[in-house]
């Protein structure tokens, strides 16, 4: 069945983290690779600070722009605690990429609830493929703290069969000229962090 060929990627995080831009870039790389692609996110109420998710699905033919629960191959969580909210979307054998960034929700700020402890441990107890990334540190290294989203794309790219030159091309086209170089650097740093890790 052709459905088997559809790759499902879910990005999760908090408003303002650059998830929409990142999922746009991923979708365009898939399109440039000659594949069918659909992506979906919901924006609206959450101008700032609410949860944001973006589904990207690509393959020979894609119908639904949203993945169903239990069908996601890779979850990229831009914020640590947001990983927990979407675990039911994951395939049991799926890959979870967790950014170390912690952004406290209001109830934690108000001291009403606690930021969950040992999220990585919890996730690792369920999924065998878990990668933890300090995108903040790598982004600083790349020269722009705002490039965390591109770092995470670099990390993600190491697990997808989409060609590097296409990533670079789409990244070049997606940022204003003065930000292109740092974002290319961010992509490389993110990708290299996984290549080293897997050696």
């Amino acid at each position: 069945m052709m459905k088997k060929n559809v790759k499902n990627i879910l990005m999760s995080g908090v408003g303002g983290q650059g998830i929409l831009r990142a999922s746009d870039i991923l979708s365009m790389v898939a399109m440039e690779s000659g594949l069918d692609v659909k992506k979906s996110e919901v924006h609206g109420m959450a101008q700032r600070g609410g949860c944001v998710t973006s589904h990207v699905r690509y393959g020979q033919k894609v119908y639904s722009p949203i993945a169903r629960k239990g069908d996601v191959d890779i979850l990229v969580s831009f914020e640590k605690l947001e990983t927990l909210r979407y675990m039911d979307y994951m395939k049991p054998e799926g890959l979870v990429i967790i950014n170390e960034r912690e952004i406290c929700p209001p109830s934690v700020n108000l001291g009403i609830s606690d930021y969950p402890h040992d999220i990585v441990g919890t996730v690792s107890s369920i999924f065998s493929a878990v990668k933890v990334v300090d995108a903040g540190r790598l982004a600083k290294e790349a020269g722009d703290v705002r490039a965390e989203n591109t770092i995470l794309l670099g990390v993600l790219s190491a697990y997808l069969r989409l060609e590097v030159p296409l990533w670079l091309k789409v990244i070049c086209e997606s940022f204003p000229p003065k930000f292109v170089e740092t974002n290319l650097e961010a992509f490389h740093l993110g990708r290299a962090s996984q290549e080293q890790a897997s050696q």
Binding site: K39, G50, P65, L81, L84, M90, G111, T122
Partner: protein, 608 residues
């Protein structure tokens, strides 16, 4: 990159909204009007990027539709854009333009919001098509969105009728591949046509046009039978599915091998085609989000069909929902998860949001705050709890008026109506006038953040700029209010808590109506006055852990437990459990927390 206008690439990734604007541009739309509203907003914003298309923000959806009708009567191709509830506002002209017909072309775009991602209700606007006898097309992805709007214009001209194009949030906001075409060069037949029998809807003429509507619907029913976007896909004929829009994609994803009747036009329905399809399959389902709109019509054709007996009435679908409802498909099994409580992350007012100060004050006065729709509605939540009702855009002032009249003496100084600047212009002006005319005893507050923030910073008549960024007249709220007869008009800065509280109390003690304009630009506003503001920090030495600053619900302020149960020393509380902390990267220095702090523990970052 999406190359708008000019030369285009063969293949572009576009949202449904961008694709609608693209399609309309390609077929020579001349006039566009709309009022912002999720999920429709980006359609009008995209038009603004096409140089040759005239597009404007209207003050509300009724004005948008009426302007669109005018443009169409002059022979143009016109489109008007709104979210589902916007059609309620525009419903009055809607029902009668169905009678007059359009002369040129008029396409009404309604963007529905199953699951209420950003809406106050979940109404199914397919009902409007049937109710107002206006044909409706429903695309299922971006490429169809681009093609269907062109078909909609052609149908409008061919049948002399307004045509609806309906999207849902998932169609509007999902991106998929689009194959743009070059724009047509076409001449509109623009002219002033005087035809009172057709356009003056007094009873004698309207009765005649009413007959014409029925004839037109009959012609449209015939058209539907051969319409190329009503498509039958016969595969496994054990089970057949009638569906349309995004539901088609969900169903195909879950059951790629079944037979489908995909309806590109959901009003009027192709009766013969449906009967034919029903006869081809053994078991028939209708897969549709929200109301059993198609289902009931199919049942009325005397066809046995399964619909809402298995599918949910509420919320949007996804392939999983359809598979679970119909059964028989192999469902993916998610990993089993431990039971952990995950703190929710609701949307919140931004750091430095001007609404915060106003609602902090309102939440502490013993008043009923009749609220409205906009970012400020979020202040109903803890810890501000400064807003107590919200029904629809513009309702605040009217509701406050009715409430104070009903309460009489008991309500004196106790009822406040609060409305955003864009919302006031949308539908608050007449109710302000009413509160003067009928001598209302209320205080009305316009939270004037100089923009339409909730939907992403659109211009409106009080910003002084048009959609395309051109300068224009700027509505003066106090001049308007005094012209309406309001005598007590005050302007406050919601960053100044003390005077906000004082003015509020003064106005509540007077016989109403009073108008308070709470003025301060949205923090995300692009033309915001450049101010040198310094972020705040907490001096842990003087913080007594009273949590007053946390009562502002400002995202940078958090609580750090420090385990010190019995701190000694000056000003310390006996049982202090922690101190407040401010994230300097998020703080913009509005100073509200400094103003509420009783011990002077909140200071500028660089203060000693």
């Amino acid at each position: 990159m999406n190359n708008i206008g000019g030369c285009v690439r063969m293949k572009v990734l576009m949202s449904g909204n961008e694709a609608i604007a693209r399609g309309a541009y390609e077929c020579g739309v001349r006039f566009v009007a709309g009022y912002p509203g999720t999920p429709s907003t980006e359609i009008v914003e995209t038009f603004a990027q096409y140089q040759d298309v005239y597009a404007e923000w209207s003050p509300n959806e009724k004005v948008a539709l009426e302007s669109g009708i005018g443009a169409a009567l002059a022979g143009a191709r016109a489109t008007v854009v709104m979210k589902h509830v916007g059609v309620n506002v525009a419903a009055d002209p809607l029902f009668t333009v169905s009678y007059t017909g359009t002369n040129g072309a008029l396409v009404i775009i309604t963007a529905d919001d199953p699951s209420l991602h950003s809406s106050q209700n979940e109404q199914d606007n397919r009902n409007y098509a049937k109710f107002a006898k206006i044909p409706m097309l429903e695309p299922s992805d971006s490429e169809e969105a681009r093609r269907y709007i062109k078909i909609a214009f052609e149908m409008s001209e061919m049948f002399d009728t307004p045509v609806f194009l309906r999207t849902t949030t998932r169609v509007s906001h999902s991106k998929s591949i689009v194959y743009p075409e070059a724009p047509l060069s076409r001449e509109d037949a623009l002219r002033l046509e005087v035809n009172p029998g057709k356009y003056v809807m007094v009873p004698i003429n309207a009765r005649h046009r009413r007959e014409e509507v029925e004839k037109r619907i009959q012609r449209l029913k015939d058209f539907a039978e051969t319409f190329s976007e009503n498509k039958m896909e016969l595969n496994n004929t054990e089970t057949g599915i009638i569906t349309s829009g995004m539901s088609y994609n969900y169903a195909k994803d879950a059951f790629p091998d079944l037979s489908y009747l995909k309806l590109g036009m959901v009003y009027p329905l192709p009766v013969k085609m449906i009967k034919k399809f029903a006869s081809e399959v053994r078991k028939l389902y209708v897969v549709e989000e929200l109301d059993p709109y198609i289902e009931e019509q199919v049942m009325a054709m005397g066809i046995k069909v399964i619909g809402k007996e298995v599918f949910p009435y509420t919320g949007e679908f996804d392939p999983g929902v359809i598979a679970a409802s119909m059964g028989g498909s192999k469902q993916p099994v998610p990993a089993s998860l431990p039971d952990i409580s995950i703190p929710p992350r609701p949307p919140n007012l931004c750091p430095g949001c001007p609404h915060r100060g106003l609602f902090y004050v309102l939440g502490k006065l013993n008043v009923f705050v009749s609220g409205d729709i906009g970012c400020y509605t979020l202040s109903y939540m803890k810890p501000l709890e400064g807003l107590h009702s919200c029904i629809c855009m513009g309702a605040s002032i009217g509701m406050a008026h009715g409430m104070s009249k009903a309460l009489g003496e008991k309500g004196r100084g106790r009822v406040v109506g609060v409305i955003g600047d864009s919302t006031f212009i949308h539908s608050g002006i007449t109710s302000l006038l009413n509160s003067v005319y009928n001598k209302s005893d209320i205080v009305i507050v316009i939270c004037d953040n100089r923009t339409t923030a909730m939907t992403g910073m659109q211009e409106h008549p009080a910003t002084g700029f048009t959609l395309s960024g051109e300068r224009t007249k700027e509505l003066d709220f106090s001049a308007l209010a005094s012209a309406l007869g309001v005598e007590n008009i005050r302007i406050i800065d919601p960053y100044d808590l003390k005077s906000t509280r004082t003015v509020m109390k003064e106005e509540l003690s007077k016989p109403g109506p009073s108008l308070i304009i709470s003025r301060r630009s949205c923090v995300l506003f692009k033309r915001r006055e450049k101010e040198l503001r310094v972020p705040m920090r907490v001096n842990p030495e003087t913080c007594i852990g009273c949590k007053l600053c946390l009562g502002l619900g400002c995202p940078p302020i958090s609580w750090v437990k420090d385990g010190m149960t019995a701190k000694k020393g000056k000003g310390k509380r006996k049982k202090q459990e922690g101190v407040a902390k401010i994230d300097q990267e998020l703080c913009i220095g509005c100073t509200l927390c400094q103003q509420v702090c009783k011990t002077g523990a909140i200071i500028e970052v660089n203060a000693e």
